[in-house]
């Protein structure tokens, strides 16, 4: 028989192995040929023989396909196993190589740890604040409901919040009854006050008033006891309350016997009927509420034009879209307003996704910050790429040798990329530790306005993100050196001796330096702009003298407050006592605080010929005697209040300069009368403008009235100390004296006013701090990168340097020579970076105060800093070249 004895050795594995399809075809073809030959040998016609041979397969097509399938499957499995083994090999190899080059590994690790750490920290903050859904049932269907007052858009004082107006009971009822796009509606409002327990101790807490519908709406019900009933949301309804979990644990020791017992809140008794589950927060900028009470129980909530202090909440009905709900809410709220006033007046409403609504104000801030962090990571990557590039130059002989021994290009590339990923993996591990610390710092230092900071956690999502970062950066910074190396390293003969560099190498290195410098310039300019802006902000004249002024906030039990006579008596006695403290220069007070986010306003009209002016909103303050003197606010026209302005004399008021400009542009306001709070007041003086809420806004028109003519308001006290006294002892003295007047009144806070002013720009300060941090880190990285590049250049060109010195070159000229490449790279970087920075700086415009995005001083400052860093990084190693000893160097070759 033919063809069945083996002969010869097996064929070597072909360079390009046959595809499974071709293999099968060849195999079957062999069989067909042999069969054909056999048939021919038996006498069958040759043409016929092949046909018969095929026929014996019955369905040749089917057989071929079946064999294909099996072969492909097998191929697949083999390839996968090979991949994994190769990968494991590569990792082991990379680790070994890195152990030999520990110095390089450490230098590569640090920027990566920094970059990945910062990025991870940023991600965990963004995740906790923005990305993670709220802990309620189907949180994406929850909407916040606001009223909108179109009329306010024209009024300077209220324009800023025209579309986030709170709603009242009438609005809630209308929405509940008529909104078809919302399956449920609820209203809630914050309520601060004194919580007292059976033992008689009181603390200032933050509580919420809620409608009974909120529990079903959110899908959150009391852990113990029961929720509120709709029947309890009525005027003078039963005083039931729920305790917040945290308060229950801390204040009441988790004693479930508290249910059924009574506590006092703002001087009224409430029976506890249940405990809320842990970590339930309606307002994510503060801690969970201490106490929950039913809404609409007080007279201040009686349905009326003026009684609006609730935030609306709704759940989208099945199948309803946000746009539909938004439109419907607008119509319903407009109708409600029209039914009071008789005609529509531009009031409307809106519904917006609740989570978006909460983070809206800080979203762009966070995103810009995230962008800056990403830039930082990029700088770190470029830094490491430069490093690896330098290393690659040294490894050319090794690569060439491996290629000669049969390593394929793809295998070599995979190996080197694996090495990069291993490095960035280690960097990520260190970076995670750094990131954890950074996250805690970011959260601790952040201004309170960022919602959800308490939700920022270092959990599985963050780790996953860090892992992805590590792989991505590893590939990113590994790609360039790998491909560069493969292009040159493989083909060149094994080279001995330093001093030769391929032309392309120089260019790539220059490009890397340029990119790093450009990126760090962008960051430096950004932080420089923020810094200048902050300085400008702090330089703003507040309009009064904060230094030496103390702000005293007291909380009184309701019984003192309710009776205007006893309130006045208390205030008078308190002022007398405080003034008697040694070291106190002046005492006064006002019924409005400052820099605490609150403001109070109402309409004012000028009375006179030819007719009354239109009513406009004005900020208002009832002030104690000596107010302007205590605050050191100048009276620019007319006179201050005096003793003679009391309850029996004509009503007088002092207006601020901004108000004088706005409502009395032509004539002097002195002697004119205004209608305020339903009564006429005569203007007797104009006071200098004062910033009461923030330094960045315009001066608000303000009206001041003496407490003697409109008494009964609760007062914040202002105590001005003369230079000598110290804050702590003054604070103690204040407490003692006030306790002496009436021990039932508690001191809520005594704060130095400069601290209050600083708190008003806490957010700007935070931003600037972060910006500066990034700017500094970025430029340090760039400087370190340049340092590395020059050091390597010098090391490589030592021989050349030696020759030049031997031939008479000066040390200086050598230094300059070594720096040339790097400085050219830096120059290109600046040329690239400046326009990019100028363009990106526009993004910062909303956060800049007093300067524009192209502020020359900021740019100049950044450039100067960069120049200094560059020189510091490049000069010392370059000078080494100048000090080379030609004999030593030339002999070593």
């Amino acid at each position: 028989m033919t063809g069945d004895r083996q002969a010869g050795d097996p064929l070597p594995e072909p360079i390009f192995p046959l595809s499974p399809a071709n293999e099968v075809a060849d195999e079957l073809e062999f069989h067909i040929e042999m069969r054909t030959r056999e048939l021919v040998a038996r006498g069958v016609d040759p043409a016929d023989a092949r046909r018969q041979a095929l026929q014996r397969f019955q369905d040749f097509r089917h057989v071929t396909d079946e064999c294909h399938q099996i072969a492909e499957q097998r191929e697949h499995t083999v390839r996968r196993t090979r991949y994994i083994t190769n990968f494991a090999q590569d990792v082991a190899f990379a680790v070994r190589m890195l152990r030999h080059r520990l110095g390089f590994a450490v230098m590569a690790l640090l920027p990566l740890a920094l970059g990945i750490g910062a990025t991870t920290a940023m991600f965990s903050v963004v995740d906790g604040v923005m990305l993670r859904p709220l802990p309620f049932t189907h949180p994406e269907r929850l909407v916040a409901i606001w009223a909108t007052e179109n009329a306010w858009k024209n009024d300077n004082a209220s324009a800023i919040a025209w579309n986030s107006v709170v709603i009242g009971q009438q609005d809630y009822d209308a929405l509940r009854d008529r909104a078809r796009m919302l399956s449920q509606v609820a209203a809630w409002g914050r309520d601060g006050g004194m919580l007292g327990d059976a033992a008689g101790s009181f603390t200032q807490v933050s509580g919420v008033r809620v409608t009974a519908s909120i529990f079903d709406l959110l899908g959150v019900h009391p852990q113990l006891g029961r929720a509120f009933l709709p029947s309890e949301n009525v005027l003078r309804g039963p005083h039931v309350a729920l305790l917040g979990w945290e308060t229950w644990q801390n204040r009441f020791n988790g004693d479930s016997g508290i249910i059924g017992r009574s506590v006092t809140f703002n001087d009224a008794p409430y029976t506890i009927v249940g405990i809320m589950p842990p970590r339930v927060r309606l307002d994510r900028t503060i801690a969970p509420a201490a106490i929950w009470i039913p809404a609409f129980q007080g007279t201040e909530d009686i349905p009326s034009h003026h009684n609006r202090s609730y935030r609306g909440l709704g759940r989208l009905a099945a199948g309803a879209t946000l746009a539909q709900a938004n439109g419907e809410v607008g119509r319903i709220l407009a109708d409600v307003k029209a039914s009071w006033k008789g005609t529509p007046d531009g009031t409307s409403g809106r519904a917006v996704n609740w989570q978006d609504d909460q983070i809206g104000p800080v979203r762009s801030s966070l995103l810009i910050l995230a962008g800056a962090v990403a830039l930082l990571l990029l700088i770190a990557c470029v830094n490491v790429a430069t490093l690896m590039f330098g290393e690659a130059a040294r490894r050319q002989p090794e690569i060439a040798a491996r290629a000669a021994l049969g390593a394929t290009p793809s295998r070599l590339a995979r190996q080197m990329l694996t090495e990069s990923v291993v490095i960035s993996g280690c960097g990520a591990a260190v970076g995670l530790v750094l990131g954890w610390g950074l996250t805690r710092a970011l959260v601790a230092l952040a201004p309170a306005k960022i919602p959800g900071l308490a939700d920022v956690r270092f959990d599985g999502r963050v780790f996953l993100f860090a892992a992805i970062c590590a792989v991505a950066t590893g590939i990113a910074f590994g790609v360039i050196p790998t491909f560069a190396l493969l292009r040159w390293g493989r083909h060149s003969a094994v080279r001995i001796g330093a001093g030769q560099t391929a032309r392309g190498e120089l260019q790539i290195q220059r490009a890397l330096v340029a990119i790093e410098v450009a990126l760090s310039l962008v960051m430096l300019i950004g932080s420089s702009l923020l810094g200048r802006s902050l300085v400008r902000l702090t330089e703003v004249d507040t309009g009064f003298v904060p230094e030496g002024l103390m702000f005293v906030q007291t909380t009184a039990p309701l019984r003192i407050w309710a009776d205007s006579l006893s309130a006045t008596r208390y205030v008078d006695a308190a002022v007398r006592e405080l003034a008697a403290i040694p070291g106190v220069a002046a005492v006064s007070g006002s019924n409005s605080g400052m820099f605490n986010g609150n403001s109070s306003s109402s309409p004012v009209k000028v009375i006179g010929e030819p007719g009354d002016s239109p009513a406009r909103d004005i900020q208002q303050r009832v002030v104690l005697p000596d107010y302007f003197h205590t605050m050191r606010v100048p009276i620019v026209a007319g006179r201050d209040f005096s003793q003679s302005d009391n309850s029996s004399s004509e009503r007088v008021a002092i207006i601020s300069a901004a108000e004088a400009r706005r409502d009395f542009p032509a004539a002097s306001p002195l002697g004119q009368r205004v209608l305020w709070q339903g009564q006429p007041w005569t203007v007797i003086g104009v006071a200098g403008d004062v910033h009461y809420t923030g330094l960045a806004t315009d001066f608000q028109p303000t009206i001041y009235v003496p407490s003697g003519q409109r008494g009964g308001d609760w007062m914040y006290f202002l105590v001005r100390a003369n230079g000598a006294s110290d804050g702590a002892s003054l604070g103690r003295a204040i407490r003692e004296r006030l306790a002496g007047v009436n021990p039932a009144v508690t001191i809520a806070a005594i704060t130095a006013v400069p601290t209050l002013v600083q708190r008003s720009y806490a957010e700007e300060r935070y931003r600037t701090l972060l910006g500066s941090l990034f700017g500094v880190i970025g430029s340090v990285l760039a400087a370190v990168g340049m340092f590395g590049v020059i050091s390597r250049t010098v090391a490589r060109r030592m021989r050349e340097a030696g020759i030049r010195v031997a031939l008479g070159a000066s040390a200086q000229s050598l230094t300059r020579l070594m720096m040339r490449e790097t400085l050219i790279g830096a120059g290109i970087g600046v040329a690239l970076g400046l326009p990019v920075a100028a363009w990106l700086a526009r993004l910062l415009t909303p956060y800049l105060f007093g300067i524009h995005a192209a502020d020359p001083l900021a740019f100049a400052g950044a450039l100067l800093l960069l120049a200094v860093a560059t020189l510091a990084a490049t000069v010392p190693p370059a000078r080494r070249a100048g000090r080379v000893d030609p004999v030593t160097v030339l002999r070593a070759d």
Binding site: M1, T2, G3, D4, R5, Q6, A7, G8, D9, P10, L11, E23, V24, D26, E27, L28, F30, H31, E33, M34, R35, R56, F57, Q58, D59, F60, H62, V63, E66, C67, I70, A71, Q73, R74
Partner: protein
């Protein structure tokens, strides 16, 4: 000669493994050898042979490599692997058990 019996699918694997245990062969030779050794009684259809061979290769019981035959043609030769040897032993004992049982029933004396 009696009509050649069609091979039951499962036993094809056993026969191929056994043949390859004797020496490495290509598909054509397997078909030929089988006919030879069974005195023409056993004939494997071409259409079942090659799928069976590929399946055996996928299971890892046989390994394949391309070689030159005597008249210098390229062909795919299969040989038994270590795992294949174990499988052969397993299948042989299964077969013997089965054949013995059938034998026993068939040989029962009619009443």
């Amino acid at each position: 000669m009696s009509r050649p019996a069609d091979l039951v699918q499962g036993t094809l694997d056993l026969l191929i493994l056994k043949l390859l245990a004797l020496e490495p062969l290509n598909g054509w030779s397997i078909s030929l050898r089988l006919k030879q050794l069974s005195s023409e009684i056993l004939q494997v259809s071409d259409g079942s042979l090659y799928p069976a061979l590929h399946k055996l290769e996928q299971e890892g019981w046989v390994a394949a490599e391309w070689r030159h035959t005597e008249n210098n043609r390229r062909a795919k030769f299969y040989s038994l692997t270590h795992l294949g040897r174990r499988q052969l032993k397993l299948e042989t004992s299964n077969w013997e058990r089965l054949a013995g049982a059938i034998n026993h029933v068939v040989k029962l004396r009619e009443a």
